[in-house]
Symmetry: C2
Subunit: 129 residues, 2 copies
């Protein structure tokens, strides 16, 4: 069988990766790189992902999905590990990231305007009514 003992509701690395839309390789890499706390293991040393792990993975994929660099995600993870005292800094990190993302969205939208203009240009030239 694949997932040996499934004690409570824990997922294997393959299952968790699938659920997160990542590869098992990537999920292990994130853990090694300090983006994720070391996840619990079963008797054979295999990773077992529980709901809390999946939630953290979900949030980190949002961070990555908005372009936050690995090193900043790691920083965020370190702050999590450091406890409640770091709430202010976590907030600052997220706010700074938000600013970056919004700026990037706006810049992309502006760049897209010229591309749209060019698309219209070609549409007319191609006599597609």
């Amino acid at each position: 069988m694949v997932a040996t003992e499934h004690p409570p509701d824990a997922l294997t690395v393959a299952e968790a990766a699938q659920a997160a839309g990542l590869s098992p390789h990537t999920l292990r890499y994130y853990e090694r790189a300090g983006l994720l706390e070391p996840v619990s293991r079963n008797g054979s040393g295999h990773r077992r992902y529980r709901a809390a792990d999946l939630e953290r993975i979900n949030f980190l994929t949002k961070l990555r999905g908005t372009g936050m660099p690995i090193r900043d995600v790691r920083r965020y993870a370190e702050l999590m590990r450091a406890g409640e005292a770091t709430n202010e800094e976590r907030l600052a990190l997220l706010e700074a990231h938000r600013g970056t993302v919004v700026a990037k969205l706006e810049a992309t939208a502006r760049n897209l305007e010229l591309i749209d203009w060019k698309i219209n240009f070609y549409r007319e030239r191609c006599e597609r009514t």
Copy 2:
């Protein structure tokens, strides 16, 4: 003097790079990589950028600025070189890219929602009114 003879209104690589918000290195790299037609040279073999070059550079920075991969920009440049017969394909390329960009914008906006939620969470927790 820096820019030897400035015959009509042509810019040196440094000037053109500055105008485009790129480095001279990058501008030469784009030319080598086929993203840009070989630009004209002065008697000493130095590049001289004219208005038409600057326009093409401007457009390619929009493509790059919306995340189009180098290889696709090169493809677009090849189509330009191949003449009017490729208008349809150029249009298709730009439309496909537009779709990719819009999808990415939407995905980013969705990802940002959860991040915003988290920001609000921390704002409350930090008792910042």
